[in-house]
């Protein structure tokens, strides 16, 4: 991706911060932490102070307006380190939804605390085990908001949660609820990527606890937020895939078997070359989607689906090959390779698997 010098400077400062504060060891310790911990909130406040929460926010709203390419670069750096942060959950999805789907009063009321890291939010939009954002049965009834949501990223560490639900008029909207509100129950779990995902149960949450986002374009706005989530996740995944490629190619150059470097075996060379080709191919699609968000040009849904579909396949291929090429060491927990492998499978299911995105792409392309 071609960044401006300003964007590069930003990415480089982030990179050194992440290297010192959120190396892969951070994920390892998170695995053993209590289920209520999704990430280090202190580190997140420092990241917010560095501007991570305001990258794509317009200057008119107090943001940095650095653009989506910069966001992609940050996500990629986090992906390289498997950094547990609420970038996707709180910034891209929740804060994105606030900006895209709320009215100006709501934005002015809530945004500052998100930008400075004082608050973190989550978004609850899944009701099924396979991505299906249009399946919404959670609804506002005369007795209050009721329904269940699963797979809420970082949900147990959030101050508020945006819930996709049917409002009293039966329209699908986003509803902001404090996570400690009456009638909200959380069941956190840690999936195999070491990250926290929460199932929410809403039982007659009083109307007074619900703030419905009520911007003009909330339907289309929410779709665009999901598109942005898909692409930022794809960028993060490619960060992981790139890290794996680099580690694996290094290993091929170092490891000796049968008195030669294993990287001199042509069968492995061809597979390595294929991995690298797939990585750069996918990167091109992700970059194109990021550029598309900045320019507003092109079919945003199609570009987002292309990016996520390729990132899914690419990360799965490369993590499989990385494990196999590392041989016995690849299946141990001593190396980090397995952590990336497990992350790849979680990411595959998040925000749409490959087939889902292919079919959406086909829809958009008119066949």
């Amino acid at each position: 991706m071609i960044l401006t010098s300003e964007q590069k400077l930003f990415r480089d400062s982030l990179e050194s911060f992440l290297s010192s504060k959120l190396p892969i060891a951070a994920l390892r310790s998170l695995r053993d932490a209590s289920l209520s911990t999704a990430y280090d909130r202190g580190v997140w406040q420092q990241l917010a102070a560095l501007g991570v929460s305001s990258i794509t926010v317009p200057t008119t709203l107090g943001g940095a307006e650095f653009g989506w390419l910069a966001m992609g670069a940050v996500a990629q750096e986090m992906g390289r380190r498997l950094s547990p942060t609420p970038l996707l959950s709180s910034v891209v999805l929740a804060q994105g939804a606030l900006i895209n789907c709320a009215n100006l009063d709501q934005i002015n009321h809530y945004l500052p605390a998100l930008l400075n890291g004082d608050e973190v939010w989550a978004v609850a939009f899944e009701e099924r085990a396979h991505f299906s954002p249009d399946s919404v049965s959670t609804a506002m009834t005369p007795r209050g908001l009721s329904g269940g949501k699963c797979m809420v990223l970082d949900g147990a560490s959030a101050d508020r949660v945006l819930v996709s639900a049917l409002n009293a008029d039966g329209q699908s909207r986003l509803c902001l609820v404090k996570t400690d509100a009456l009638g909200v129950k959380q069941s956190p779990s840690r999936l195999m990527d070491g990250r926290q995902y929460v199932a929410y149960e809403f039982s007659d949450v009083p109307e007074s606890e619900c703030d419905w986002l009520a911007g003009g374009a909330s339907g289309a706005g929410w779709i665009q937020v999901l598109n942005q989530g898909m692409v930022v996740l794809a960028a993060e995944m490619l960060g992981g895939a790139r890290e794996l490629c680099e580690r694996t190619f290094e290993y091929l150059k170092e490891r000796e078997q049968f008195d030669v470097k294993i990287g001199s075996f042509q069968a492995l060379q061809h597979r390595a070359a294929h991995m690298y080709s797939e990585l750069e191919l996918s990167q091109a699609a992700v970059d194109a989607a990021l550029v598309g968000f900045d320019s507003g040009q092109g079919d945003q849904c199609a570009m987002a689906s292309a990016a996520k579909a390729l990132a899914n396949e690419c990360f799965q291929l490369i993590s499989d090959e990385a494990v196999q090429m590392h041989g016995g060491m690849g299946v141990t927990d001593e190396l980090d390779i397995g952590l990336f492998l497990k992350r790849s499978r979680v990411c595959n299911q998040l925000l749409g698997n490959t087939h889902w995105h292919r079919l959406r792409y086909a829809d958009r392309a008119g066949f």
């Binding site: 085990a129 195999m192 000796e256 049968f258 299946v331 001593e334 497990k342 595959n348 299911q349 889902w356």
Partner: protein, 404 residues
Amino acid sequence: MKNADTAVSFRTEIKSWLQKNCPISQRQPIIQKEQIWGGRNKHFYNDDARHWFEAARDRGFTAPEWPARYGGGGLSADQAAVLREEMQDLGCRPPLYDQGLWMLGPALLVFGTEAQKQRHLPAICRGEIRWAQGYSEPFAGSDLANLQTKAEDDGDFFKVTGSKIWTTRADAADWIFCLVRTDDSGPKQQGISFLLIDLASAGVSIAPIPLLSGDSDFCQTFFDDVRVPKDNLVGELHGGWAVAKEVLRHERQLMASFESMAEKPKLNIIDLFNEHMGNENAYGISSTDIRSRLASHLIRDSAVKQLGNRIAQQHEVQSVDSRLPLLMKYLSTREVQHKNEIILDILGTRGLSLASPDNPELYDSMVKQWAFDKALTIAGGTSEIQLNIIAKRALELPSASTPE
């Protein structure tokens, strides 16, 4: 079989013996924690397991084809096949799990001295000693012959120093069979010897290796000046490579049939599909994709089994295409991995946890199996080594110093 009447009466006898001696609970699909492993610290999950083990042991059916004088069943190949078929038919669990049984024993029968056979084989058949395998080393990997663990001549003993990796459950084993270097002056495949080592010896220490699945079924085993009596040398001094290849042959067969040894999921994959793949999302027909992939897997999985049967039938008529057995490990381990990926896709976000309080144990164990099976294409000869072997031995392609 020569005499059809004998065959029929043997089958009838076996069937009724199994029905009498194998308790119903031992005819259920096997669960890992209920497997019967031998050894000094033998433990039975319940009385039925103990009963089944003891009945099979006393009849020699833990090692049906081994000679009766070493504690085996003394069956012919044909008879053993009948026993296997009948056990499969009733769903009988293996009465004993042990690497000595699967790998060391067959090699001892070929290479062991009479004294070694008498000492070790009955103890294996009877589940008295549990064995671990000590081949791989941290810096050897696929290049097995590159091993560094040294056994120095020390009179009536060898003095062994070094370490072995991927020693499956060495922490629960009593003895280990090892490849050690006794001479490093010549080509590296020479100067290797095959030693049996009591893990209770002074100087042995064992550390589990955590795996990406979260389990630690494998260990690294360290030897620090461990004294091993020279009686424990199997085969020629410096001639361990021949013994090792025999063991390896059995290990690869084992890996190829790994699935049948492994814990069976409580839900088969077809039921899993039917239970989970409704019209789940906006692109509801996306289950067609998984349906097609599952069909492809099941078709290939059947074909792998049919290929295995074909090899077995060729053995029977003694007209073996020696190229076919070379394919089994490569094909079967790939297929297990395909299946696991399909399971993850069927489960969706239900199936992403290795251990979680609110996730049904069933799904967790499937995901653990996915992670564990990543090793299938690595252990016992990587898929790359298998392809090298197929290219060289089956296709006779010109050598480019391709290792096997």
